[in-house]
Symmetry: C2
Subunit: 555 residues, 2 copies
């Protein structure tokens, strides 16, 4: 089996120009359920929400060509048939499927057959003589057969099978059993045309304890609080779909919805089941998920057109705020942060302070000042990571944050001699008053540590971490330009830049960016949450700029 994130599903059905039913609905459902959709158009319809204006059948030879093109190339994991229209198209489909899987008939992917006899608007979509052929030829290949009440009645009565009158739950269960004898592996008899109540179902169930009941929407125990708040399902009318497998009978309950947005409901349900089967779900689980999906698609439908509106196939989807990382764009989150703060970012990483250092013209006092303030700032930085330790969920997180604290302690330790290079002693640091720019930045770090979850501190630390890495590389790049303005020879500050462009620091930056991207991918943020993160980043780039303003002004 080819491993794909998006298993391929094939629909063999009619085309609905209006987009609410047929292969159009199927393709939307496949996409919305994380599958790759292929299609064989058995017939075209000129159709909209008000009805079917015309049908134009594909020639059998062309149905065959489409089906062979798909099966020969694409690893289909599940299939569905919708409108098959006439005898010749049914026979063509059966013949191609049989011949394609002739070597190993067991390898045929699960096929969901929705018999689509009549459209929601009343148009006949399966010619009368085709019913028997569907049963005798197609059903033996079918994994799950999904007729509604009236389709079941047409099919059963055409085969002289009783009961052909499906008027209650007992009748549905009996009919599902009769349908199973016609050849499909499983039957889902849809109850949308029958009206019952939850209490009637419970009564029926009491008499038939062998029957399974699946009812996400009715698991009433200890949910009075939901019912009081409008979720009143106990007394409402319910729709019961009966799933008959060789092993047992299951009833799937959902509340009857008073809606005219039902165009393509059958197509949607069978396509959703096929999607779930393609994902490897069992017939029971797949049916339960597909019924729930379809039910919400009706309830959340946005009316369109003047007749029976289509369903809302995309109700379960939301847009990513951060694009998927790709080989060419491995850091989409960091890229978006930088691109959303172009001006502030530039003002920070190309600050006059940095430029004067790159030229070697910066008064030493400025660097001394910022070195002292930097040491004071680092205490906040360490403390904020203490809050991150406190907010961690795993030992790995605790360790990572603790290591940052240890690094900071080493940096500000009296035994750290790096500062001596700029003529700054530990005593100097001890004696220097804290600048308001230092307090602003440091206190903001602590506020992030207090307010948000762990990601808040991580975000607040990012602008400093990544910014210094950028400054280092920027210097290196400017330095490599022909006729560069950057001074290296005899520049007392060249070493300062080398620290940030060096391998050790750049590795730390890359690790930090990897962490940010991993969090962003695994905990894909809502627009509101993304904006929270982005705001922290933006504020920190501004505070970094303020830090260097302070250095220049020695304020």
């Amino acid at each position: 089996m080819t491993v794909t994130e998006q298993p391929a599903v094939l629909t063999i059905a009619g085309s609905d120009s209006g987009g609410g039913a047929g292969i159009q609905a199927d393709l939307k459902v496949f996409t919305a359920n994380g599958c790759y959709g292929a299609s064989v158009a058995v017939a075209l319809t000129a159709q909209n929400t008000r009805g079917v204006q015309a049908v134009y059948a594909s020639p059998p030879a062309f149905i065959e060509q489409q089906l062979r093109s798909v099966l020969d190339d694409i690893p289909i994991k599940a299939m569905k048939t919708g409108m098959l229209f006439d005898v010749s198209s049914i026979c063509t489909v059966v013949q191609v499927l049989r011949s394609h899987y002739a070597k190993d008939p067991e390898s045929i992917p699960p096929l969901v057959c929705d018999p689509v006899c009549v459209s929601t608007s009343g148009h006949n979509l399966l010619q009368p003589d085709a019913v028997n052929v569907l049963v005798s030829e197609l059903l033996p290949l079918v994994f799950l057969f999904t007729p509604n009440k009236s389709e079941a009645e047409i099919i059963l009565s055409s085969h002289g099978l009783e009961p052909s009158d499906i008027i209650d739950l007992e009748g549905m269960v009996e009919a599902s059993q009769a349908l199973l004898t016609l050849g499909p592996k499983n039957v889902l008899l849809k109850g949308g045309h029958l009206t019952t109540t939850y209490n009637e179902v419970l009564k029926f169930r009491a008499a038939r304890p062998d029957v399974r009941m699946v009812s996400t929407n009715f698991d009433g125990e200890n949910t009075e609080i939901l019912q009081a708040a409008g979720y009143d399902t106990q007394d409402c009318e319910v729709v019961v779909d009966v799933l008959r497998t060789p092993q047992r009978v299951a009833l799937f309950l959902h509340p009857r919805v008073d809606s005219t947005s039902t165009h393509g409901t059958g197509c949607t349900l069978s396509a959703a089941i096929a999607s779930q089967l393609a994902h490897g779900k069992s017939v029971n689980d797949g049916t339960a998920l597909a019924i729930e999906y379809t039910h919400t698609a009706i309830e959340s439908a946005i009316p369109i057109g003047k007749g029976h509106s289509p369903l809302n196939h995309g109700h379960a989807l939301i847009m990513r705020t951060i694009p998927k990382a790709t080989p060419r764009d491995p850091y989409p989150f960091v890229r978006m942060l930088i691109q959303s703060t172009t001006q502030q970012w530039k003002a920070y990483v190309e600050h006059q302070f940095v430029q004067q250092m790159a030229r070697g013209t910066l008064p030493l006092e400025c660097l001394q000042h910022v070195t002292k303030q930097g040491a004071l700032y680092l205490k906040y930085y360490g403390r904020a990571h203490g809050l991150l330790v406190a907010k961690s969920s795993s030992s790995a997180e605790i360790k990572a944050a603790s290591n940052t604290i240890i690094d900071v302690l080493n940096e500000v330790s009296p035994s750290n001699t790096a500062r001596a290079r700029w003529g700054v002693t530990d005593v100097d640091i001890h004696l220097t008053p804290e600048s308001t720019a230092t307090t602003a930045y440091g206190a903001f770090l602590m506020d992030c540590g207090l307010r948000g979850d762990g990601m808040s501190v991580t975000m607040a630390a990012a602008a400093c971490l990544i910014g210094y890495g950028e400054v280092g590389l920027w210097f290196k790049k400017e330095q490599s330009r022909p006729g560069t303005w950057v001074v290296v020879e005899g520049n007392p500050y060249a070493q300062w830049f080398e620290q940030w462009s060096g391998e050790q620091y750049q590795t730390a930056v890359k690790t930090g960016m990897d962490i940010l991207e991993t969090i962003a991918a695994e905990d894909s943020p809502s627009p509101a949450r993304f904006e929270e993160w982005r705001t922290v980043w933006e504020r920190c780039t501004e505070l970094e700029r303020g830090f260097w303003d302070m250095a220049l002004q020695q304020s």
Copy 2:
């Protein structure tokens, strides 16, 4: 204009059975871009990733019927044409569009025309004599014309227009201008067949400052850090698409991707632009977004089939963890919380302690014990809301959390006489040692307050708030059953239940649930974040149960 969340977009094109191009790709793109898709099938193809095996054209009359069915019913906000195949289908489409919008030709929705002359696999998809008809008949109706280099050459040379040789950027810009004179309002000349570098583009741009440059992927300034980490776009080959509007020329840059997953790229891009136009974007913004969408769709493609693979149309989508609220399911988040903890929830809200109270058989000492411990617990509850105040972003949030603290203070105040009913005095509370069950629950609230963002405290408070509301309603429901086991008459504890089922408390519960659902809908959680929330809920239902264990055992 009808207000819809999902504007309708129409594709008039061929059907690709393989699902990677044609109306199938278009419908997937519309869905992935938040639009409702309708389609007119101009021709069917038997096609897969390896090529086009056969083409079967729809009769012109049936193209007309499909197009009329759609336009008569569905409020189309944008359209695109793909493969139109031959003269008669082009003339049919033009004639129906002209007649449908005859009364107000300006009201025609923006039409994107992708001339689809040849498939990726080399199959001829537009008959030679149809090129002139496309230009003379269709182009005057077109809002945006999107040929690639070879299509532009075919079209320009068939009209005796020079330059018909498009070999560099200069040639592309000139060709786009020549194409504009053929009638479309705007032209996007796609440069996928041309190879250039970022530096060449910069050089060209320097000579033509009037030309706009759009390059999300190349905004190189101050992004050395991204380039060092693998995002190296400066020296790579780039693809330049030229957008010619009546006002100006814009170059859209993206890195050339070395991929064979390009089946249906043209269809995808034009469908994505049509989607953006339907959302009301300008031609500039819509084109930029659509190019980025298409680019990522190629880069993130999951290979399928044995030839040129289709794109990953769903790359920008993720699944909701909490379903959309509907009239029948207005509290999907709270429902999922309860359903995910059925056993713990039942053990809490139907606890022996509650049942003995409902029967009136609970020893008074037990209620006295839990009343005292409850007062101790409420101090933690208040303090945790102090952390919520500290974590709030708006005055409204600060106020809501502060009000909870005030309510708690009133509840535990010595002047609150409600406790006297059960014979518990303020002195009793002062003297009672804190149970470990109380510490466990209280300290967990504080830990939630410390660790997460504001939602963490809100979640931790939910099990208590909603659970007592459920207990109150459960009592009421049991009480109303014929022959109920619940004792009301003479039950000293009946008043206790009334407090929780009463209007005041139930209103507070509903407000709390509304807040939870609003947060869940506005800050749609990732699976990881949802699991964090759910875990807090689960732990609190267990701690509530432990609280009543403690009450029964007077421990």
